[in-house]
């Protein structure tokens, strides 16, 4: 469709823009990256009828246009072919990332400004429960002199809160059409579509240079607040940021989310396993027969499937372990994680968690918001690394990614680790945990000090709690899953092919002989442990199982497991990391991870193995880490003044 007009949906974050976007567009939406950035936006198509004779473009079912082959129901959606007199128009609707202001200089606001420049019609979505703040962006948008339509969203909620807005007065004041909408119920969508189809240049208006003065006048003349009681949702909101109950609620809810994800994830993985055995295994056996003459291809694609039934965890072929690992294990976890993350996002709990944990995360020089990726990574590092995309600056993304990949074991690792270390006594589990927590604090502190870029201070809107929209949830889930399938799965499989080729051609053996002194001298482990570390590149849980066959002393065992967790994320995580950080930063990350592993492994190695070593290690490392990170944090101040 040529010459489609671009409709830009703009507004502050948390005003229900995406919900309104889903109402306006159909299911076929595309998410893309803004060129050269990690900022993503969504676009879709919309059809509307331009009013000529008869058809008004809005229909309440009583429009009296029946004689004109007018279909009320379809017309009401604003997207059907209405045969009444009117012109059918096609629009491209773009959901611009939410912003509080347009600023061609500041990084995060720049993209929104650039996108607004390219639009033909601007729809400014406002949250009526917070009109004052939202109008700041509106006044900026009016400077662009493009057709502008205001959608007063959350109309119902405002009424509920005792906020009354005089729509006509607002429209007259600003010189643009104003429509009351409710993204959840779809109320007002037809009227909005109609206004888009008939959009005109705004009437000329001059505003006070000081926008806040102007907004003061507007609010005085159009908004009316009536007294009302605290609602239940507001009470819950107050609890979630309470100095004592806030952190308690946050910890409990994170724990509950984690348990739920674990439970549902395991359930789905179990189902996938059954599916693989009954549907996929026969195919693999057939392929194995065909490939039996080509040893090389067989080794790379299928791997070792001798024995009763295919062991997808250990076969190591691209089509066996590769496909199973991504589709059978990571995908179910990603699905469950996104399900819950999406709900928390839409309800509005995430900003509160960020605020509660802000102080803790400042220890490692980043915002409280980074707790989200870190927390996600406990289930599976892949969605954790994917979530760093939402962080504000390159500095935050880098620090979060590095400490996440180094110190946070995914659930598969945790399970094997707990089992293998716990077999020697519970204290050894604490040794590993203490080592990880100390590395988290110290490495974070060091990165927070050294990584270039501004250490930013928290300034964040706290949106009210809101009902999530099922439509938006489904749509976003679809986009995230396709994103994973397209952006991650093929690369992981290619990665496994590369590793397999390296093993088959003997390159891996050379690497092993070359690096084995490191293992034996620095980490104090037997030479054979290298095979476990190499397998760990593909699957860490399999690597720990291999370690168990080496008859290590308990202390060697915890040293080996700690090093295994620290040294390198699994292949799937690594590939996502590469996509998020790009080549240069990924190389830096790998260097940091290797150095950390060697240092921590070496320290653990030189400690004498006695009865009390584990106990001393647990206390000493944590106290040391708290002191060091506190010191490092003080070294770099937040730069608030130019």
């Amino acid at each position: 469709m040529e010459n489609m007009k671009k409709v830009l949906l703009t507004g502050n974050p948390n005003v229900g823009k995406s919900t309104l976007f889903s109402q306006l567009t159909g299911i076929s939406t595309i998410t893309s990256n803004y060129p050269g950035t990690t900022v993503t936006y969504t676009k879709g198509k919309m059809t509307a009828i331009k009013r000529s004779q008869g058809c008004t473009g809005v229909c309440d079912g009583n429009c009296g246009l029946e004689g004109l082959k007018h279909d009320h129901r379809r017309h009401r959606r604003g997207q059907a072919q209405c045969d009444a007199k009117g012109e059918l128009l096609h629009f491209e609707v773009i959901d611009v990332p939410g912003t509080y202001r347009l600023d061609p200089v500041a990084q995060s606001e720049r993209i929104a400004s650039l996108m607004v420049e390219t639009g033909d019609i601007i729809v400014n979505v406002l949250d009526c429960t917070n009109l004052e703040r939202n109008l700041f962006l509106t006044l900026q948008l009016l400077q662009y002199d493009k057709p502008l339509i205001i959608a007063l969203n959350m109309w119902d909620e405002a009424k509920h809160k005792g906020i009354h807005i005089d729509i006509k007065a607002l429209s007259d004041y600003l010189g643009v059409p104003v429509i009351a909408t409710n993204g959840l119920s779809g109320e007002g969508t037809y009227a909005l579509v109609n206004e888009i189809a008939n959009a005109k240049q705004p009437l000329p208006r001059t505003f006070h240079k000081n926008f806040w003065k102007e907004i003061g006048y507007i609010i005085n003349s159009v908004q009316n607040l009536s007294h009302r009681h605290h609602t239940l949702s507001e009470r819950i909101q107050d609890i979630s940021i309470h100095p004592f109950f806030g952190p308690v609620t946050a910890v409990i809810s994170l724990f509950l989310v984690f348990r739920t994800v674990l439970f549902l994830g395991e359930l789905l993985v179990g189902l996938m396993e059954k599916l693989f055995v009954s549907v996929y295994s026969p195919l693999i056996y057939k392929l194995s027969d065909v490939l039996s003459e080509y040893q090389f291809l067989h080794a790379v694609l299928i791997g070792d499937i001798s024995g009763a039934g295919i062991s997808y965890e250990t076969a190591m072929g691209a089509l066996t372990t590769g496909v199973f690992m991504t589709m059978g294990v990571v995908l179910p976890y990603i699905f469950v994680f996104y399900l819950i993350l999406g709900l928390l996002e839409d309800i509005g709990y995430l900003p509160r968690i960020a605020i509660i944990f802000d102080k803790l995360m400042h220890r490692v020089g980043i915002h409280g918001y980074s707790i989200i990726p870190m927390f996600l990574a406990l289930g599976c590092n892949v969605p954790g690394v994917m979530a760093i995309r939402n962080l504000e600056s390159r500095r935050e993304r880098f620090i979060t990614a590095v400490i996440l990949c180094t110190t946070i074991p995914c659930i598969a690792q945790s399970a094997v680790m707990l089992h293998a270390a716990g077999a020697h006594g519970t204290i050894y589990i604490f040794v590993i945990l203490a080592a990880l927590i100390s590395v988290w604090l110290i490495l974070g502190g060091i990165l927070g000090y050294f990584v270039k870029g501004e250490k930013t201070a928290l300034i964040m809107e706290i949106p009210p709690y809101r009902k999530p929209s099922a439509k938006v949830q489904v749509k976003r889930m679809g986009m995230r899953i396709t994103g994973f399938l397209k952006e991650a799965v093929p690369f992981v499989i290619i990665g496994i092919v590369v590793v397999n080729i390296a093993i088959y051609t003997g390159i891996m053996d050379k690497v092993a002989t070359f690096t084995s002194p490191v293992i034996s001298r620095i980490l104090g482990l037997p030479k054979e442990a290298i095979s476990s570390f190499l397998i760990g590149i593909v699957r860490k849980d399999a690597a720990v199982v291999l370690l168990e066959s080496l008859q290590l002393t308990p202390w060697q065992m915890v040293t080996a497991i700690t090093s295994l967790i620290l040294y390198f994320p699994c292949l799937a995580t690594f590939i996502i990391l590469f996509k998020e950080l790009k080549l240069k930063d990924t190389l830096k990350a790998v260097l940091i991870m290797s150095a950390t592993t060697l240092i921590v492994g070496f320290i653990m190695n030189i400690l004498p193995e006695t009865q009390v070593t584990p106990y001393i290690f647990v206390f000493a490392s944590i106290i040391f880490a708290i002191i060091v990170s506190g010191f490092l944090q003080k070294l770099k101040k937040v730069e608030l003044v130019k």
């Binding site: 600023d103 102080k359 809107e461 706290i462």
Partner: protein
């Protein structure tokens, strides 16, 4: 007085946000500007963020930022 020395539950008028502050524009767009009336809703412990009511919305700002904002 600096905002971080304010009392929970009190309403204050912002008198000065230094022009040199790198985050001035961001504060402005969130409704914290010179002349704005804001209420301190909550302090989080250990010099954690402050929760401020500006207009009809809530904003969390870190202790360091609050320290630079003059109110009365």
């Amino acid at each position: 007085m600096r905002l971080n020395n304010g009392k929970k539950g009190n309403e204050y008028m912002v008198t000065l946000i230094p022009d040199e502050m790198t985050v001035k524009q961001k504060l402005l767009s969130l409704g914290i500007y010179e002349g704005a009336k804001i209420t301190i809703k909550q302090f989080l412990p250990g010099k954690g963020p402050l929760i401020i009511i500006a207009g009809t919305g809530e904003v969390a700002i870190s202790h360091e930022v609050a320290h630079l904002i003059e109110v009365e």
